[in-house]
Symmetry: C2
Subunit: 404 residues, 2 copies
Amino acid sequence: MSSHPAAEQPWNRQRLRSNNEWLLLERLRTAGPASRAQLARDTGLSKPTVSAALANLEQAGLAREAGTLAPERGRVAVLYEPDPTAGHVLGVDIGRGWLRIAVADLAGEIVARRDVPNRGRTADAVADAVVAAARAAIEEAGLVPGAVAHAAIGTPGVWDESEQRVRYAANLPGWGRRGLFDRIRAGLDTEISVHNDANLAALGEYARGAGVGSRLFVYLLIGTGLGMGVVSGGRLQKGAHGAAGEIGFLPRPGGPVACEEGERAQRRGTLESAAAAESVVRTARELGLRGAGTAKQVFDAARAGDPAALAAIDREAAQLAYAVAVVSSVLDPDLVVLGGGVGHSADLLLGRVEQELHRLTPLRPRLAPSLLGEEAVLIGALATALRTARPEVFERRSAALDRV
Amino acid sequence: MSSHPAAEQPWNRQRLRSNNEWLLLERLRTAGPASRAQLARDTGLSKPTVSAALANLEQAGLAREAGTLAPERGRVAVLYEPDPTAGHVLGVDIGRGWLRIAVADLAGEIVARRDVPNRGRTADAVADAVVAAARAAIEEAGLVPGAVAHAAIGTPGVWDESEQRVRYAANLPGWGRRGLFDRIRAGLDTEISVHNDANLAALGEYARGAGVGSRLFVYLLIGTGLGMGVVSGGRLQKGAHGAAGEIGFLPRPGGPVACEEGERAQRRGTLESAAAAESVVRTARELGLRGAGTAKQVFDAARAGDPAALAAIDREAAQLAYAVAVVSSVLDPDLVVLGGGVGHSADLLLGRVEQELHRLTPLRPRLAPSLLGEEAVLIGALATALRTARPEVFERRSAALDRV
DNA sequence: TGGAAAGTAAGGATACTTAACTTAATCACA
DNA sequence: TGTGATTAAGTTAAGTATCCTTACTTTCCA
């Protein structure tokens, strides 16, 4: 799970104390409030040690009392929990249509929220809009910008850490410019980290959605494009260059469509062009559906029984089944979640994808629809920011205590 | 890298000492011999602490002196290194043609070796042959069976830990029986672990072959079947059910072959049937090559300039390029190594696969031939056994010291 | 013989454990 | 209802292990 900042290093006595305090805090966070005696039993530490550590944590503002619990007989136990107000984080989802921004406390509870339409014509305008909305949310939460411990930002494309810029975000002009995110960092006066939106959505579903408890979990983001996030043992799999899950580039499977269109189309065709929202509309039109301009309209027509729309959805399901089959063969996940605008139409898609999958491969993971929908990226951003911020807040408040 | 056995647990003082001794030993192992003063500088521990820890390690038989090193001026430093004779491990490769067995010391040096042809008609006969050869190797190394700290065994198929049996090893009759590996365990009087052969080969190439230093490394085993192993950050990716990398089940790509053969063949066809050794022979025959019964013969004919053989190899390369493209899209590795009987013919395959890959996808990892060849599984088995055995030997010898 | 680096010894600080104690609740029973 | 037994939470005090600092010795080269 989360590791103490100074792991894999030699230990001296101060690290020992600090590490034990961190471990107690993590236990309170993940397993819920507990008394000192309970913690001593669970961790193997002695009661006096636990008492001393909790006194330190409380003085540092990292833990607080959380009511009492009476055992069957004997003295009433005082329960402790992490103090969620010890720090705050910012999550940002830079979507094509909307900018979504939230401030959360260390327990992950959202304390302020801002959604604004993404009207920016230029990359700089979008960056400025993000900063303005974020500052408004921070103020609403009763904080000053510098008080936010970490901000995690989700965007289409792949973040190049060494160049400090986004790659492969073709749809957003100027978004790959260097220095763009320095502008956001300066505007927020906070450490930021930038992540692929599908990856954050995967983390979001893993943290609080359909992927909770999964050992190896794959999230398919099917919308304007086709993206994927892989969460293994609670950690995101990013690949060697941060491009893991870019299955939009997959060669398209050999199927009737590919054969009909001839070899040239096969070479150019990628899975993204065959499975993203746009292709559902295109296929439906080719099959005779009129008046459908968006994927949502095609799905609505299918629900109303239109045969062309249904056929288009069959084709879409076949493409997705291929994607799932490929991912299953390579990774062996126990769960694949369909998300994004198209993936959200689980009522129509899920059964068809499963049926097609039966024909393709014996390795079949569980399929499930997204639970978080449009919120997945934002919640994943908060989860990511929390993962970074928690040890940092702990370090800072512990150190402040020592100086006294 | 390797973690102390008791990580993520609260620490008391004894664990502190034990942990620091373990860390010093790991440092000696990975960074080479060093003096006490050197270790103190590197780790941040004080000189007296390092001296005491090394005295303990030496008394426990875990470390030993390794010569001296004179600085520019001043007293000569005494160097220390891990004592490789502190324990031994066994590695076993149960291949279709050969049983390969090696005994290695804790430094990974092979001290005894046995290769015997796999003549077993029944699974039990194979198990008995493994035990006999292993006992012979252990004796040759001057050990008794119980003295081996761990034995790692590689076999085709997927090891099911909860059922304690192998799954999906279709080619070996009876090999999936429960209790088969209990027989080996009893015969060796040692803790054993069982692993997929492609996975072990991947670990072998990562530990001592073409994959050294790779961040995310994929090994393709192309031979009788088609297998894959993924090593991420030094750890094997096994998937949720241990079936990660079973790309033999991949749907076959749409290509001229698929179209020609019609839809029914596409449904049945898998990548394994299209890319394994047998298919090279089949394709070459279809294209007019006569007298080639094995893949090796096809490759030899190609080297001699035979056009049918060359065409068959082009097709094989296209199938492999598809496999690499799929894996790259999903995982983003920085290196893909081709191994196994077919993969070993890198002179003919590598360039063709790279060329085909250019047509398929912009995400192109580095390609390289296997360095270890047929030895990869065995070396991976030793590396795996060592990873398990090192902490165990450390624990045992440390504990023995405390009891005095 | 002096300088420099390796290595050791002694003393002090710290964070842990154990064991015994106090506190505060329930229960049994007069 | 009151009183003591019982049980569990939490504290205090004493003891111990491990580490660090400081000062020292050893051993080599110039």
